[in-house]
Amino acid sequence: MAGAVSSRGCRRLRSSQIRDLLDTKHCVLFDCDGVIWNGEKAVVGAPEVVSLLKKRGKNVFFVTNNCTRPRESYVQKFSRLGFKDVGQNEILSSAYCSALYLRDVAKVQGKVFVIGGDGMYKELRQAGIPFVGGESDAAGVTISDCPLDSDIKAVLVGYDDKLNFMKLAKACCYLRNPECLFLATDTDPWHPLREGRVIPGSGSLTAALETATDRKATVIGKPSRFMFECIASQFAVDPARSLMVGDRLKTDILFGASCGVDTVLTLTGVSTLEEARSYRDSYAPEEQAFVPDYVVDTIADFLPALEDGGTL
């Protein structure tokens, strides 16, 4: 084959190699959808993997772009699906991190206009950030005559199944002011449901608003580094000794690469081995960041390495 194409990445791991890899890591980050569960079903073996990692003294965090639930709802889901003792402080969701960003980084003084849902509203409320967005307009009101709130200092866009034209139009008006912040929970263009079905994602709504305003959103979720920084600000995390396990190349794997963290692609979700290999073999330098260091069929492949009596 002509050309010096890097053959780095996409290494299939056998259990002894997994043990060696985990030996060098003190922290494991997991995406959720397509990695530890699919819808309401845990990936077989996933609860045991998480449990054993913690038993072996690893810090485990769950880093998800899914902004439809507040963290306490995630805690309940973990419990319901058989994951033991997963606490709120181990869960980094894009809704929670958006609230953190607004409160602690942007230090917003004023209200936020939200295109989103209950998950986002709850996290904003908990962080003490005033917001508007869920209310319906009176019948017959149009963008020419609808009242605009004069105290909006930021627009936050996430997954919103009640999206309508008025919300887009209002957000567009607020964002005309260059001082008004523009945040997005994530850029995932579509979300998978069961049996290969998909539905439009936050990314498609964010793209619409970016087009309408000619502005780029500050993205909170993966692949942006911010959620990793949220972890690192509260716990001593060394990127070189951390591992990111995900199922989406342009989200999870890119996130890992941006944070200087080794990445594992698991094949129980969105991306395929073929896609990963085609990025590996691509001549486009920017596509190298989508290439996972390692590949497993499922995170249950970690079990033999973890169940061994040996010390890690």
Binding site: I143, K162, L168, R176, S204, E210
Partner: protein, 306 residues
Amino acid sequence: MALSKCNRLSGPLIRELLDSVESVLFDCDGVIWRGDQAIPGAPEVINLLKKNGKRVFFVTNNSTKTRKMYADKLASLGFNATEEEVFGTAYCSAMYLKSIPHLKGKVYLIGSKAMKQELQTVGIEQVGAGPDPITGVQSDWANVPLDPDVKAVVVGFDEHFSYMKLNRAMQYLSNPECLLVGTNTDTRLPLEGGKAVPGTGCLLKAVETAAQRQAQVVGKPSHFMFDCVASQYGLDPAKTLMVGDRLDTDILLGTNCGLKTLLTLTGVSTVADAKEHQQSGCPKRLGMVPDYFVESIAELLPALQG
């Protein structure tokens, strides 16, 4: 070559330019009217051009009116014009779909009543227009019933745009044989009074992103709009003038189709914008440099009245 462009049109040059063309294409918003008010002098310009034997056409990316509605608006503002001279994207999208060989079937429409009417006029049935609020849960949405006769998704301006419509479009587009057509990519509507209203471009972007597909766009700067007029009236590009207020739609269309181009400053783009493109040296941007510019099309009046 590039240096001879972007000249102020004045004096004897106006007469020279007008004598060299047989047909004039006008954009509407920001060129002949603003909102519901004619640009002062615009009706006289159009009417005199016709009296002078020129053919006049109106080429607009706005998909919310039928040709008939445009003709009514033109008449109410004092323009001497007929339906047949109007080429809006509602009409042109219908013509575009009609022109695709073997496309027999329905269209899933995200768009206005006007679009629905223009489609009906050429015999294309649509589904989807009107309000479509969300009901049910996520698994319902991924399994929305799809009309098996739908062969294309068409996106125009739609004040009833909703997540549910975006979802339906995406589900139809999961069939790679289903076409995706957009009326235009303008990012904002021209609106007086400082409010910024998202344009069709933003709705189309949502659909393109969710479906991970690029649309075929009918409106300016795509050459289809010109082809539509030219095929019906036998226009010679070298003897046709495009008059517009947007460099990235009107002027670019003109350049792409080999027309002469005139920028008017009563709308969106400025001379500074044009000069920046001219000096950029970037081939793609040079297409947005007009041959000439005027402050307002009213400046054509003396040459027409003389």
